[in-house]
Subunit: 150 residues, 2 copies
């Protein structure tokens, strides 16, 4: 699962992408329309601006905007920045590899072999989706099937 912070970051960035080229967007504007605790959002936006994908200006009429055109920011980038990795296990991360604790030898680990495949499939998708993409929300009904017994 993505952390709440990562989800906030994604929505904030989508908001900034929607308003790209419209000058600085104040934090409270993002916080209110995106339903994100304002103070917490400052932490998130500061983090993103340290990576250069968000720019900011202080003072009157200040605010935030994308430091990079929306077409150059993929959802894969965003998740990696916030979470460090797209992988489901630390040892299957391409850019933030770590050995898993209490595991078997990595060279013998079948779980890892599987999770590398999952990571690649996920990365293929997310690295092809950009903040500039027009995305049609899916009606809420979809995804509401009954719980399967297994």
């Amino acid at each position: 699962m993505l952390s709440q912070k990562t989800r906030y970051a994604i929505r904030a960035m989508q908001h900034l992408a929607d308003k790209y080229g419209q000058g600085p967007i104040p934090l409270t504007d993002i916080a209110e329309t995106q339903n994100i605790p304002a103070k917490f959002l400052t932490v998130i936006l500061s983090e993103l601006s340290r990576y250069g994908i968000v720019a900011s200006q202080r003072g009157k009429d200040g605010g935030y905007w994308l430091g990079v055109p929306p077409i150059d920011i993929t959802y894969g980038d965003l998740i990696r920045v916030m979470r460090g990795s797209l992988a489901l296990v630390p040892c299957a991360s391409r850019f933030a590899h770590e050995t898993c604790k209490n595991c078997v030898e990595e060279k013998d680990c079948r779980t890892r072999a599987l999770m590398l495949q999952v990571r690649d499939a996920t990365a293929n998708l997310l690295d092809g989706m950009r903040l500039s993409d027009r995305i049609d929300p899916v009606p809420a009904a979809e995804g509401l099937e009954a719980v399967e017994d297994l």
Copy 2:
């Protein structure tokens, strides 16, 4: 990321799959070879046996074995049982759908639309991989590239 518990469950099930048809496997056998804290493993195996995918017998020569042939257990099943969902956000789960906290209306949420696609891709992969599959571990070197700057 998968929880440690889910990873333990996967390795334990692989272990049982390897020894399928060889009678009850004692917990300590699994715990030792798979490097899983024994007491914690009891919790995991009890949970799995409540779902029927693991069977057990108490007393001398007791132990655990797969309640279902390894070809009938997919990795997707396993992860759903342990974690409830393959999705990256609660609202994108097919079998354990929940609305996300502090989010926008689900029908307007673009993040959800994306994550539904990711869930489907992940499910396609994991539901096609079975405990009976022969899986070749990937040498540890792969996945050790330098960290990208973004």
